[in-house]
């Protein structure tokens, strides 16, 4: 837990209630939440301005897929956790290997995934 202390997590989620829960869980675990951002455009802009160690990304932002941001973050070496209701088959090939948490998820699972990303970093 100590390693995660003060770590910044970039959250992209257009469903407010879901974002609220993610935020609650991350804060409860000691992380600092950057976001949540609800649009692709807003999130890309923010990702370039804000500092963060890891990102949890909803795949579908009001009909827009978050793939451009994923590509950019991977380019930058930022670990990415996909939070989505889509199955692997629905994803483009290059993203199928990424860590992914299927909605609905519970808080401890989310924290464990974020921690493992950070640890692997």
């Amino acid at each position: 837990m100590t390693e995660s202390e003060g770590c910044r997590v970039f959250v992209v989620e257009d469903e407010f209630l879901v974002a609220l829960q993610i935020e609650d869980d991350l804060v409860a675990a000691g992380y600092v939440v950057v976001g949540p951002f609800t649009t692709l455009e807003g999130s890309i802009t923010a990702s370039r301005e804000q500092k963060f160690e890891v990102a949890t990304l909803d795949l579908n932002l009001r009909g827009e897929f978050v793939y451009p941001l994923v590509d950019e973050l991977l380019e930058r070496g930022v670990p990415v956790l996909l939070l989505t209701g889509y199955t692997a088959a629905d994803l483009p090939d290059r993203f199928r290997a990424l860590p992914r948490l299927a909605k609905p998820f519970d808080g401890p699972e989310l924290i464990r995934q974020v921690e493992s990303l950070l640890a692997a970093r």
């Binding site: 879901v18 989505t84 629905d90 299927a102 909605k103 519970d106």
Partner: protein
Amino acid sequence: MCSAEGLPNNLESKIGPSDSPDLRAVLDALPMAVFATDREGIITYFNQAAADLAGSEPRLGKDRWCVSWDLRRADGSILPDDECPMAQTLKEGRAITGREIVAVRPDGTMVPILSYPTPILDKSGMMTGAINLLVDISDRKGSQAILRAQTERIEVRDPVVSSSGEAQAATTIDNADLLLASQHEAERRLRAERDSRYLAAIVESSDDAIISKDLNGIVTSWNKGAERLFGYAADEVIGKPITILIPPGREDEESHILGRIRNGVRIDHYETKRQRKDGSLVDISLTVSPVRDVTGRIVGASKIARNITEQKQAEKTVQARLREQASLYRLTEKLHRAKGIEEVYDAALDAIKAALNCSRASILLFDQSDRMRFVAWSGLSEHYRHAVDGHSPWTPDAHDPDPIFVADVTGADLSDELRATIASEGIAALGFIPLITGGRLIGKFMAYYDKPHVFSETEISLALTIARQLGFSIQRIRAERARQLAEEQLRRNEANERARAAELQAIMEAVPAPIWITRTPDCRVIEGNRSAYELLHLPPGLNLSFSAPPEERPSVFQIFAAGRMLSADELPVQRAARGEEVENFEEEIRFNDGKSRHLLGNATPLRNALGEVTGAVAAFIDITERKQTEEALRESERRLKMALDAGRMGAWEWNLESGRVIWSPGLEVLHHLEPGTFAGTLADFKRDIHPADLPAVEQAIQRALATREDYHVAYRVRLLDGAIRWMEAFGRFSPPDSAAGERLAGICMDITERKEAEAQRDLLVAELSHRVKNTLATVNSIARQSFSTNPDAHDAQRSFDARIRALAQAHTRLAEARWSGVSLQSIFSDELAPYRNEDMDNISLDGPPTNLPPKHALTLGMAAHELATNAAKHGALSVKAGRVSVDWAVDPNENRLCIRWSETGGPPVSPPSRNGFGRLLLERVLASDLGGDVRLEFASQGLNCTIDVPYLRGAE
């Protein structure tokens, strides 16, 4: 001989019915033919001369003299018995003087004679019969000369006899006159003495040689005529033996003559030859009479010799002319009767030889190659004929050529070879006589002589006459032959025509195709062959013409073409009978029972030799089965096309041998090509295939080719307009033994819509999964918020349930509208429904119909739930008098939706002590999820909430 002119009158007066024996003796002795008949023409008398002339003795009382001879007229025509001069005299009772007729002897020889029939009258002048005198005029000219001379002699005969008292100069007439003289002896002697001087003068001046000799043959007198005839002067021969005149070989004659004279027998007209002084021979006619002294003793002989060389010649000539004329006559007759050309040739050869006095003859005609060929010959060797075959002095186009006569081959202008050939055949002279018919030279005839021969004018004339006759006859026979051939040909042609007609009739009957035929241009009667009647189910022979009178027309069927009933004039036979060639005419025969047959055929006019239409014939084939098959095929094709069109399919075929690819029009349409413009190769097919899919297609083709299993592949094509379409193709190989070569054929479907539907489905499934899981995440979050913010677990549970129900309600509405959106009114109406009091009219909803997209509907639905729940718990709907009004408006310029929630009549409002989930939801969720602006105003009369969210009308 006596004068023919004078005799009948004498007889009329001297020979009466009394028929005295004396007179008979006179008549018997006459050297001229005399016969008598009774009134009926039955012979009652004839003398020896008559029998001699006739060549046979008639039977007295039986023969009718004139009919016992075969008589001809002078022109050679037959003289009927009852028209002979004798019959005429008996019939008419008058004398006829010297009518010339020709008597034919039983041996066939002919004698030209003059006939002098004279009636015999009794005392009362009644005719009891007739007497006829016949004069032989065989040697007419010569004879007339002789007659003249003898007549002169007769006129001087009496005085000679009377003065000498010796035997008379000898003629047969003399005897008769002597008899008469004996009756008037005194008178005659007187006259004789008176005329003796004349006699001597006459003897001296006579043309005839008058010689006398003694019984030893010594010449005793020699007149001037003798001098002229024999060339000896009187003094040279008188006293010499007469034998100096006898030529070698005739020495016996004199002793014979003398022997007869001694016996008192006279010699009349003994024709012999004597030698002149110069040694030449001369033909003479000798009359020798005994000379008696006064006692009647024979003391010598008088001799009258007449130079008959000319007479002989004349006789020969007359004989020749007669022979020639007879031969011409025979020729004419034979030619006239000739049935065949061989008879013509034979008759002509006979006539040539007889008329031209040649021993051999031949006839040659030009053959078809204009070569002169022997067609008939007499007495020619095969060698000769072969050697001169084809030789002709004229070419076929020679115009009116003259005959050629070669009198002596040795001096003729001939080639040595020809001359040698002719000579070796023993021919010394020859004549070429052209045969001309219709002005054209057709050949020649030849006369050959064994000795040199000068052709006389007569012979040339005869030759030309024969040539004319022969030419005419050849032409006649040829024309006859040609006519026979033509007739035969005609008969053969007619027979052939009949045979052919019968053959055609048989063929027509046997042909398994229906045939209609009419033999008149008006088509009143049309007959059919067996097949036609069978087709029409009619008895053979029935009239099939619709142009026939109404009662004869066929009634069990009608003829249609292209679905329309045809009038009689429109029918093919009728059209052809008007001269038209009708081809590929298709008609349908509809029977009254509803059945029908389809026929396809031609009709053609029948024409006569002049080209005039005399009828028409039409032949058909029954194509009913074919039509049905075609119709079935068309139906099948139509169904296939329908199926293909409906399924957006096309058919294709790839001929593996030719490489040709065929697309159905439907497939071309699928590829956005004008029908018929697909170029037809595999490369053309591949060009449209999406590059990404081409390998898959090629692989599928290779696999199919390798395995001969069905071909199946789906691929995209890029069309000309850039559109991308999905295609799915199925193919199957044709049987390998197919005649058209091995083919891969199949169909191709446009599956773009299916592919899109599949993609849509996949999208929907993903979307559904996404939404469901998002919803679950939302529910999860609602649960945490509901339970974590409310210390009252029971109340928290109720709130959670209500919120989930509200969420479910919004989902239900969306589902009902197939997620196309929900009306704003129904969202608020649903949430406020539990609190509605109709009596109090506590709720009002007012605004334009506004459709909310799903996200708006769900979020606004939860907001409406929180507002309604709050109002029911703490606000206007917690009391009876409270009211809630919701109104909304859409600002089309700003594209915003503004909703105002107003509560009135409720308990006094104070701002909430803490921020509950409801407020969180209202303020943050709306802001976050919808980008909206929410203002809560806790006015004293009740809560006011204004929600202002972006709203793009129609964006849903």
